[in-house]
Amino acid sequence: MLERRLYFHIDWLLLGAIVILGAIGIAMVNSATYMTTPAGGHTSGMVWTQLYAFGIGLVALLVFLVIDYRVFAEHSLLIYGALIVLLVFVLVKGQTQMGAQRWIPIGPFHLQPSEFGRISVALMLAMFFGENRRGAKNTSDLLMGGVLMLIPLLLIAKQPDLGTAVTLLPVFVGIAFLAGLRMRLLGIIAIACLPLGLFGYKFALKDYQKQRIQTFLNPEQDPRGAGYQTIQARITVGSGGLTGLGYLKGTQAQYKFLPVAQNDFVFSVLAEEQGFIGVLTALGLYLFVILRSFEAARLAKDRLGAYLVGGIISGFAFQVIYNVTMSAGLAPVKGITLPLMSYGGSSLIASLASFGLVLNVRMRRFTN
């Protein structure tokens, strides 16, 4: 399937940066889950899960690279339908952990369908806007696209997993923006969202979600309770200094002052142990991945490819930025993981698969 010619068009630099970020992630997950005991310490089993997921993710990346992205796009409705079915299934029969119903057990694995929402929605929207002969510039197309994005968003939010749900928004906004949506319209939507947001805060958010926002605004009011994570995140990052405390030597991470850091606060662990230098390196790699991916969109041979990459990378960039900001205690604590680094098999596999599509679009820029 993969013609020899195409092989030369694979963006090895982008792929290399992705693999390095994934490897850093595995190392950081190991550090965040390392079991420190009076007798010494040992690696926890979670790092192996992450390693397996990385392997599976690379296979997924290959699959999403080898098959022409247009084939995926043509089947986007089917994929989208399958996603909706899975999300409904999760809500009905899914496995509950930590108060949320997110997982479907498959053998030894626990599939988290919401993590695949971004790829599916990006494919669906890219197809919808990219293959639309009118150019998808009118309001009704926008509304239609918005509905396509909102259905899985609401299903995911219902789990409840607000963090993952909101990552679908930038996918839609990114594609709509690239599709030529007038900025004025976006502005109107944004203004319209404001009262909607206030209404939502008052009536739709759960108490713990409200508390997170309040706590973020004033973490000191409850340093042992809800403000704890925000304060501890700042301490963790700040104590790293220029060069960091060294791998497995961060006191905040190793003595578990940041709870379950491998999920949402893996970047804080990196900041503490690798210091400002490590932070700049990781941020540089992420920035490179994002800018390079946008280049792939620019090079795409068709609107479909450009929109697909634009949507995927908009979601990716949003997630990275939000998580890193939160890692430094500068944004309210939301369940938004750091793609490629945070602990979580479904997330890692989905992220790698989505980069398969990005590489795919760039690789096939000359084909017809």
Binding site: G241, F257, I290, A297, D302, T325
Partner: protein, 638 residues
Amino acid sequence: MSTNLMPDDRRSLTARLSALQYLVAAVFALLAVGFWIFQIAQHDKFREMAENNRTRKLPLPAPRGVLLDRNGKVLVANQSTTNIALVREQTKNIPEVLHLLAEATGADEQELNEIVNRRRREPSFRPIVLIENASDAQYAAFMARRLELTGIIAQTVPARHYPENASAAHLFGYVGEITDAQLQRDDYQGAEAGSIVGQAGVELAYNKKLMGVDGAKTVVVNSVGREIRPLEEMPPTIGRPMQLTIDSDIQKAVEDGFTASGFNGAAIVLDPRDGGVLGFTSRPAYDPNAFAAGIDRTTWAALNSDPLKPLQNRALQGRYSPGSTFKPAVGLAGLEEGIITPSFTVHCAGGATFYGRRFACWKKGGHGAVDLRKAIEQSCDVYFYTVGNMLGVDRINKWATLFGLGVKSNIELPNELVGLVPSTEWKREKMHEKWYAGETISVAIGQGQVSVTPVSMAVYVATLANGGTRVTPHLVMAEDDGAGLKPVPPPPPQSKVDVTPEKLQAIRDGMWGVVNGGGTGGRARVEGHDVCGKTGTAQVISNAARLIAQAKNKNVDYRDHGWFIFFAPRDNPTIAGVVFLEHGIHGPNAASVAHHILATYFAKQDGKPLPPPPTHEDLRLDYKDPYARGGAPTGGGH
């Protein structure tokens, strides 16, 4: 159906992609700045916060300095006790844990809650002691259920130990947790909430020297406060030992004498040459060991509500009429003021009339003709009525003050109260009234408004013994400045008066006669040693008033107090002291107690075996209550 990009489209797309790229790059730049602020600019602040997060400094209490007697025998030491404490940060459900602990150990759950509540403002990693001096059974119960009792720990701490229990309790005092008021004060610098400090007696007076320096153990803990590993340990420095002037044999004799008598009261024995205290007691006493590891509420409440006031240090805080023990002061004042000579004689017919009022002598038949020596020996009231009347109250006051009565002794123990020897000036100032000459008559035999503390009586008799030097009673003989015990010079005397030796000798002769000449203090006689003394029986209330009051309330003790002041040997005395029996009925009863003290002292001096503790019968106490004694308004006796 491929929708390849048209040139227009591509231009627009390229522009919008560039916009997104610039946006992302700008946000990343902002993020980098944010991390720079936290990691570089504010690094020190956050590093310190991280250090505080992971390290805990736990105090290692220092044992207090040991107290030794003048011969080096240990009077107060330390021993290890086990406390059961709560570390709040290690547990989520404190009420539940306290409930379980109360159940396991039999402690009062409400009290445990109150202890925790009282100290809720302290850092949550600092252990709060819940059960002090836990019994073996409580410790075993805790160990058996320690997995349920999260956050509960057992710690071994040094606690004060008083081997002789209640002996000299008021002198040693007791220790206890530092109070909030003390924490505010400069002289408790370095002490923290929960520190054990002296709260009474020598423990309080010399707290700073005895306290030592607490050490600290720094440990690394995880986010739930569990200890991961020790970081550094600063061992505590034990407090410096201190050698007291107390002689443990004399001290024991004082306690044994009191125990055999069954009376409450106080006694102070000292070296009249420098004021060093050899023995000291106040009865009833308490057991300072009960305080050492923290006193429980019930015991504390019982001590405080006891009508006999065991916490009161009667030696320093009790004020009583001296009765006839005051007579030597009046006699000496008469001699020194040139009013009388030792041969001045008065005829006692069992009473005399002054200012139109009859004053009785304690001896109904009268003493006949008595001179000064005889008057002291027989404690003749009429003689001293007469001398007192000739002197006037102000000259009595002058000499009593020079001998330490009605003024503070300035012993280093806290909360000494001052007695009273009245004067015309005092009455004018305090009562805004003129002094009536008739009031002097009662004063002359140590009744009326005269009140003295036992410690001031000890100073008085020591001053009589040493010839006019009002020594300062003191307790410390040697201190350790780090290079072993070094003698501490005795504090300078409060005052010194040149008493004419012949005149003083007359008083001493009289006091010798009290003990050895068939006088009122014969029971204090020690074969082969010239003991001098003076008894005193002091009315608590006038006889007439007593009959009425006693009829009303049978539970109040109105029996007379018994005093005995003594020094020995007559020439160049080396021991002086006072025994005060509260409601001891007769002065001679106090002389019986003093006898054991003196006998012990001389046996030790002569290298003979010490006399065994006396039995109650040995003391031959006189319980005959003389309250049927005539209706005369005064009549301090024998």
